[in-house]
Subunit: 232 residues, 2 copies
DNA sequence: TTTTCGTTAACTGTTGACAATTTTTTCTGA
DNA sequence: TCAGAAAAAATTGTCAACAGTTAACGAAAA
């Protein structure tokens, strides 16, 4: 964790040090550099980022507000750790949010946006056909981002992002991204069809289902792993 | 704004001063003591609450994380002000969240909970029959809280609460609570029927619609007011 | 009267220090 | 060797002070 904060210097003109620290800590969490359950040492982090503890503490409070960090008085602040049940909860909410995004998108998408959306799906299909996972993941991420950003509801987009971030707080972080490429592709096709048809109800349904089936895929893997480790 | 923080002293054993300040500031916002767009003077607030600026700043960051406050570097922190468009956005998200709550509730409600839910509806009907608004509002609030709390998804409940709080950031705060008592009652009845029938789809639909129609009622009043002030 | 510039005051951003609490280490006795 | 108590270290909570920026005010010029 030797990242300099100097990259953020441009941001410091418009935003405070605390905000830069917040971004950095969030990056470290999503990175995996900060593991769920780990304590955040204020002194250590402060000296690593070249600041005092004030901005660090402010950043931690902000992250606490978004639910990525939990603080216990006189004990410290910890990267939040999500239980299986909590992951299920996050997926439920995420599903509702993404369903809303799908519905809104079907109501207001432009021809231009529809073309870009189609290109995303085609590129993902090509990537999965040649088993190019390195290309698939960022495309998949951008695809989902594009959908929530195009839905025309900034509150929704913001909340959706927060909930996706929360999934990184699960112990099996790596599993969240993986699983079911070809399955996803057929789902993506249906989402596209629903949006292209400008059918809000269908689109809502398709987008909802896409998230819940991602949840099911993850949970089945987790369940299998747990069963395996229990018999050992 | 002469409220002492001493009432929160019991909380200080488990939580930090910053957390107590956060609660207090949030109370002042929901209260109306802090108006949307108003700046938060750190020194003033610190001396009023009998602390230093450190905890104040931490509390502000936490509130920024939940979206109740906006900060501009070197200018200060301001109670967020929601535009009509943003209120519409909040209602859209809230509708999706409440719809999810309705769906989940229909799937898992117990007989006990169903009776309590029914009592809420009956009491609200009685209150509106005798035009007792003082009794109606808290009942209505408790009714909604009970639904999201009984849905068995703490993330959902928390987010729902946050979005309801955000509605207080609209200039026409007073209007958010009011309007359409008898209309609400018929909607409440349908929600109740759907939940009692353990029909997730119907319940989802009914709960969604309840929020969107509340939104429509609010927006029509706002629109009417705006039209009035423009002709003056 | 209005505008512009410079001075002053107020306020935010950040830091280092001190107090209180928790955790770790060390020491003692069985 | 181990359990428990005491001491030491580490860490968090809070505060007060200082630096830098912005806003407010008033005087001088157009």
């Amino acid at each position: 964790m030797t990242t300099s904060i100097s990259e953020e210097l441009g941001i410091l003109r418009t935003s405070s040090l605390a905000a830069a620290v917040e971004r950095e800590v969030e990056r470290l969490i999503l990175n995996g550099s900060f593991a769920p359950g780990e304590r955040i040492n204020e002194n250590k982090l402060a000296s690593e980022l070249g600041t005092s503890r004030g901005p660090i503490r402010e950043a931690i409070r902000a992250l606490e507000g978004t639910g990525l960090v939990v603080s216990i008085r006189n004990r410290g602040s910890f990267i939040r750790r999500l239980s299986v049940q909590e992951v299920r909860e996050v997926y439920e909410v995420r599903s509702a949010l993404f369903g809303l995004a799908g519905k809104l998108l079907a109501e207001r998408i432009t021809e231009d946006q529809l073309q870009r959306l189609t290109r995303f799906v085609v590129e993902m299909e090509e990537a999965s056909k040649r088993r190019d996972f390195e290309a698939y993941y960022p495309l998949n991420l951008a695809f989902h981002e594009f959908i929530v950003d195009s839905a025309g509801n900034t509150m929704l987009a913001q909340q959706y992002r927060t909930f996706v971030k929360k999934l990184h707080l699960f112990r099996a972080r790596s599993l969240v991204q993986g699983g079911g490429l070809t399955v996803s592709n057929t789902e993506h096709r249906e989402m596209l069809s629903a949006v292209a048809a400008r059918d809000p109800v269908w689109s809502h349904e398709a987008h909802c289902r896409h998230v819940t089936s991602a949840r099911d895929r993850l949970l089945s893997v987790v369940k299998a792993e747990d069963a395996l480790s229990n018999t050992n």
